[in-house]
Each structure stands twice: as structure tokens, then as C-alpha cells.
Subunit: 286 residues, 2 copies
Amino acid sequence: MERTIGIIGLGLIGGSMAVDLKRRGFATRVIGVEKESINASAAEKIGLVDEVVPYEDCIAQADIVVVAVPVGAAVRIVCDVLDRYQQTEAKDRIVIDTCSTKEQICQATHYHPCRGQFVSTHPMAGTEYSGPWAAMPNLFDGRACIFANSEESSPKALRAVEELYDALNMRPLYMNATQHDVHTAYVSHISHVTSFALALTVLDKEKDEKHIFDLASGGFSSTVRLAKSSADMWVPILTQNRDNVLHVMDTYIEKMYEFRQAVDDYDEDKIRQLIEDANRIKKIIR
Amino acid sequence: MERTIGIIGLGLIGGSMAVDLKRRGFATRVIGVEKESINASAAEKIGLVDEVVPYEDCIAQADIVVVAVPVGAAVRIVCDVLDRYQQTEAKDRIVIDTCSTKEQICQATHYHPCRGQFVSTHPMAGTEYSGPWAAMPNLFDGRACIFANSEESSPKALRAVEELYDALNMRPLYMNATQHDVHTAYVSHISHVTSFALALTVLDKEKDEKHIFDLASGGFSSTVRLAKSSADMWVPILTQNRDNVLHVMDTYIEKMYEFRQAVDDYDEDKIRQLIEDANRIKKIIR
């Protein structure tokens, strides 16, 4: 079966999808759209896509359009793609997003006459790097992919997108957009914020970068890794998911204060209890 | 040259040292002391040491004694070993500690008549696991080893211990105990505290552990990894290095508040600036 996949945004997520969908035979042709000309040249040169094409051509040619850009822009693009599907009566075409926040994009599309052709997904994979150079094969293997408000997609569109993520070896999870945003704030967004704050703290206290370099153990590097994540991606996530993020930040600050108080009091029993409570994460995360 | 190394505490650090010092020919014989009988049997069974021996025998037989136990116990043991060297006039023997805090152990030994036979070190390597099962070859390769107040050790003892860490492929760094405790609080201890607080937050907010398991991306796992670290090790570190730890926690809490305020205000410029400032860590940590 001939199938053209169009990827809008040839960064880490879009580029990695492009590679595996082609390599694994899900797509016979992969075309890409990339507004940064340096990234566009890189994506063609690396061979992430068969061709970089203008936006309009991508919408007109692709059976499935994957919108893999930061969340603010994604909302506008998905709505525009659905408008074009409506205008051209392209009833068999499908658009998906890959955003880390789901509530706003699901709200914005909810009443669109072509809503059934949109499948809102969040493939939970990534690294702290971005751009076409960060794209890699097998990025998604074994990870979870969330389908948000999937009952609003047409069964046919949903099935096609399930097959797409199956080709990427992802585990499907279904939840509504509101739940999604709560859970990702609690599990994913907060860990980015704590890493950013850690990097800011260490850079503030250690004016001499050589000390950081010399003393950084594997543990510090692992904890601060996410602080390398790009502002382009994270500013819109944190503002779109503001209320949930604030809520979990407040809980986090409380826990830090509790810890601080125990250290301040030399309260060994309390510190031990907090650490042992935290150790319960061992049972959940390998 | 015949050389017996005695390791007190056959956990991650002691056990990993035992393996590589023997394997790489620095030690002809490695004996160990381990007060937990389960760990002692495991260490013998795994083959970390040639023999587990009573404490007194270890001090009497080992050319170099490595004290690799949590910091509170280490202070007592190092002082006791030096007392025994004095009583038996064992002038050529050497004792080293491997503690993550240096000020207290250096203070406690400062006036000891055998101070020259003590070399205070902090090999900056490890994982979040503990016990003899966590020991592994090559753990120390390429990492930094701090020598604290090395001018108080005899040149001969210092040279022998430099050779020991050279056999472990560690990069030596020299600093005084006070500087050490400040810098490790800023770079290492704070990242453990932020991980513990993150685990506590996520476990508190996500009552359903399945959500954590399903939604934990590589990023979350990496950031929360240190929260698996043991209370036995970290309670004494955090209390011994209390003042420095409190100081850096306060800065950290300030940064979190700054971030929180920017998110609360939907202040995209400020969030972007904080993230881009945090991104500077990229230049330092690979």
C-alpha cells in the first residue's frame, strides 16, 4: 500500500518518527515541512525525509500529517490543517499532533466539523536535545503513547494512527485531555522544572565552572540532564499547563521545606523517614 | 611486591575498590570487614575479597586500610585505627576514608599523633544502589578523587594512596576539607535532596502508582534516580554538612519561587530567560 506521511517540524520527535516510519515500511514516502532553513537542509542532508516541501504541498499530498512542533504553534497548525481538509473535502486524510499538553489543542478542535480526522497523541519519548541532529532511530520503542479524547476521532482515523504508533513499537494508553495534563504535570513537567532550578542553583553558587565540571558525579549529571531542554519547547508547555504545574510545584516546595526543616533541626529520624518514603519510587521506576 | 589491602565496609564503594585493586594487581591480597553477616557472606560468595576477617585482624594485617562506611561510623573507625597504629607502633601502615563529607573527619583526626598515616579521600563515583551486590568493576574509571587536607598526610602515605587511586584510573584533585564540603553540597548533595523531594512529590500527588509507571519517561527516571539512594548513607551526610546543605537548599527554593512566579504570571519572557540561563549547564555537563 502506498502511503505518504507528512511531518511538520523536523526536530527530535518529527525527525525520529520520519526515520522509523520509512525504515519500517509504514510509509512509502515521507515528506517534511520545516520553517528554519538550516534545519530543513540538515533534515534533507541527514536523510530524515525523502523531501522537504512547502506547507501547502504537505497537506495536499500526505495521507497522514504529523504536527511535531511546540504546543502553541501546534494548536494553530492543526486547526489550519482541518480547515484545509474541510475546504478540499479531503475526508480520508488524517492529522495528528504530538504535544506534551492536550487540553488546549483538544478544546480548540472540539467543535471543528472535521474533528474526526484529528487524533491527538503524546508519544512519551525524547531526550534533552532538539533539532534534526537529535533525531534517532528506535526513539519510541517500548515507550507509552497517550491518545487523548480518542472518542472524538473517527474510528477509522483512530485505527490508522494506532497502526502508526504500533509501527513505532509504542504502548497505547487512552485518557481524556484533562487527566493527561494533570498526570504529565505530576510526572513529567515537574521533573523539568526541578532540573532547571537545580542548574540555576548550581550555576549561581558555583561561579567557577571548573568546580562543577570536576565535581559533577554521574548522579548530578543525571539529575540536571533535563535542564538542557529547550525554551522553545518548554515555555508553551509550562504556560499551557500552568494550573497543574503550579499545583505540583507547590507540593514540591512544601516537600523541600519539610526536608529543609529536618536538616535544620538535625532531626535524623525525620530525614531518615523522608528518604525512606522517597525510596518507595524504587518499586515503580527501574 | 606483596601488598594486603583491608576494606572496612563491603558495600558499593568498598566492594568495587576491592575488585579493581585485586584485578589490576595493586593488591596481592584483599581482606574485608563487614558487620552485616548477610553482606559478609555475599561479599565472599561474589568474590569481592579473598577473605572476610575480624576487624582487629584487618587492622593488624593490611598495609592500607580503606574505611568505606557511612560518614558517622567512618569518623570513629579512622580514629580507632590510628589509635591502634600508635599502640602497635605500626608506622608504615596507612588508613584512608572515602567519605562524602570531609570537615568532621579531618577535624577529628587533626591532632592525632599518627595523623600522617591517614589520607582523607573522596572518590566521586557511585550509583544509587548499595550493598555488596551493587559493587562493580570499573566504577571509578575516569572520575575525580578528592584528596582533602593532603598536606596533613605524610608524603609517603600520600604517594601510596595516589598510586592506589591511579590504579583505579581516578583523576586526583586537591582541596581543603572546608572547600570540599562547600563544593559537594553545591554540586552533589543538593541533587540528592532535589531527587528525594521529587520522589516524595510524585508519590504524594499520584496515589495510583500505575500512572507513574506508565507515564514515567526517560527524563523523569533520570531526574528521580538518586531518590533510590540509601538513608544509611545520606542521613549522616546531610547532618554533617548541614550548614552548606541548608545554604544551597535556600538558594534552590528561591529559584523555584522565581520559576513559580513566572509561571503564575504567564510571564513567557521570564520563563524563557530562566530556561536559557539553566541551559548554560550544557557547556559544562555533557
